[in-house]
Subunit: 348 residues, 2 copies
């Protein structure tokens, strides 16, 4: 047994740590009338005035942990630094407004490369109406670090959270899953490997390097009354349990209904299912809605060119029963453990 | 001469880099109706509604660059991580509302130490009414990195900036200067050195480890009509030229008027003036105001226990003449070069 005073971050893990650190703060600093949602969700919800809501989110990318400069180009890295934050804003049904960026630089980076980073970031900012409002540049001698905080707002109504799923709701995801995880796997293979030389390889790698935040779909979800939403960053089977936990419900999903990118199945016949459900970095939206609302969302999503696939249903939670059940093609029901990606227990 | 394509961050320096990167962004992403102030100041000013203003600031602390774990205790580090951001908010005359924190952890940190970090941060948050709204925890294998973004607001009126100084205004600073730089110097000396054993040493070290954001004074400045303000992070002679540049004015200050902490003079008889004017990390407020306004500010500052010292006057800028002149005790006028601390040209 580990002495409490000697316990390290790695012993406790990322999720235990968040709870411990939240508990170390005075209670009046973690909740307040104007803070509708604080520590624990992907973004905070703040009321600048009694009638308006803002969402605030922050994400960091660390060289060697979240990216490798020999695997990404600089413009894609700039795109992704903003995109992963905008994905959190999309999941809440908000519009991004501004971002501040803190760069930790070794000092030997080429200015031309950083300009490419800003081109990639700026192109996505312009396309999404996000202002780059400033930031901070500091020395970070051992690793390039990128920290972005984004602010979104909702001129009318309330932000979507992961806490609103109700028994009887349907569960759906946007797009297809597994492409980003497969892209990352491809980058780790030798350039001459058969998979790397497949015609679909570049598209999968692009899914990893340049995720697209689902902002318009998030707006559709909120407008038409989805009950809960979050973005998929840690894989469907890592993230869905978080939503169920936050909503205090259970769910069953159908393995055959999960929309796996076809190229992932083709290139990775042995572990396409793990890539699609545990691989992470999909940045698609996972959401729930009552059946008539879901029908509306599916057709409205089509109008904006987004695909939505229903994969299961929300159930009441029953003490002693699994929170998430995966129905296998055989008909067998498999209980799913949370097991989200833990930054201190796995590597890049 | 360096080939442009090969130029590195270190070749260009921090301030040239900010300009280059700003220029790499599409123009519509760096300015907008609702963004009163963007890249270039310490904080951005955003209008969530037509009548309200928010200020947003971000600052990063990197192990080995901004702090050393053998020189600081964890609670002080938590305090400072929040304090340096709140200082930017104080300089704008705003009140802090919430903060999001991104921690980059190696994984071998003791949880008990991180709890101490949160205690220090939480105590300052509670004292200043700042909510800790969330954040992000990532792996940062080579150095502990701390990135905080703080949001402040102004229920009434406009935020102070560094761009409003007018010829004829007086220039003042709060508190005394040089203590934090002297404290840092002391930490670098052997524990048995005479300076480290001086009775004033601990207070100077505390000034370095636990700066106090001047929030109430910032509010007084804004309420009574100071024309420009900024916080002193890079030393008076590094920061004042930035204010003069932003305001398009010149200034003369009186060397004998600069309020140097007495212990700094006593312990460092050879370079107390450099510590007080170039040392940095004072986190006092530097501001300008018309003479009758300054008189009011001086007396209102006394009411809240803050000291304010007038050190010079703003002058019209004259092409070919120095932007900042320092009047020496001998009566000699010395032109001051900007020379702010550049993170890529100096070490901790």
């Amino acid at each position: 047994m580990i002495d409490d005073a000697q316990r390290t971050v790695r012993d406790l893990g990322e999720f235990g740590l968040i709870d411990a650190l939240r508990a170390a703060l005075p209670p009046e600093t973690v909740a307040g009338d104007r803070l509708r949602l604080g520590i624990g969700d992907d973004a905070a919800i703040w009321r600048p005035t009694p009638d308006a809501e803002q969402v605030i989110t922050t994400d960091s990318l660390v060289e060697g942990v979240h990216f490798r400069l020999d695997w990404t180009d600089w413009a894609s890295l700039g795109h992704k630094t903003l995109a992963v934050n905008l994905s959190d804003i999309a999941a809440m049904g908000a519009w991004p407004r501004l971002a501040v960026l803190s760069l930790g630089l070794r000092g030997d980076e080429r200015v031309a490369d950083l300009e490419r980073f800003y081109h990639g970031l700026g192109r996505l900012a312009a396309a999404t109406g996000t202002l780059i409002a400033g930031g901070d540049i500091v020395a970070s001698p051992t690793a390039l670090t990128l920290h972005l905080t984004a602010l979104g707002d909702l001129p009318d109504g309330q932000a979507l959270t992961r806490a609103g799923a109700q028994a009887g709701d349907l569960i759906a995801v946007s797009g297809t899953l597994g492409a980003a995880a497969a892209g990352l796997r491809l980058l780790s293979l030798a350039p001459a490997s058969p998979q790397r030389r497949a015609t679909t390889a570049l598209a999968l790698i692009a899914s990893h390097l340049r995720p697209e935040p689902r902002l318009r779909l998030g707006h559709v979800l909120r407008q038409h009354g989805a009950s809960a939403a979050m973005d998929l960053s840690d894989g469907l089977l890592g993230d869905l349990p978080k939503m169920l936990q936050a909503s205090q419900v259970a769910a069953e999903i159908d393995a055959t209904a999960i929309p796996v990118a076809a190229a992932v199945r083709a290139l990775f016949p042995d572990d396409w299912f793990a890539l699609a459900t545990r691989g992470g970095e999909d940045y698609e939206l996972l959401f729930t809605a009552a059946p008539p609302v879901m029908a509306t969302i599916v057709s409205e999503a089509a109008v904006i060119g987004a695909t939505v696939t229903t994969i299961g249903a929300v159930q009441p939670q029953v003490p002693g029963h699994p929170r998430l059940t995966l129905r296998q093609p055989s008909g067998e029901a498999q209980a799913i453990e949370g097991g989200a990606f833990d930054h201190f227990r796995a590597g890049y």
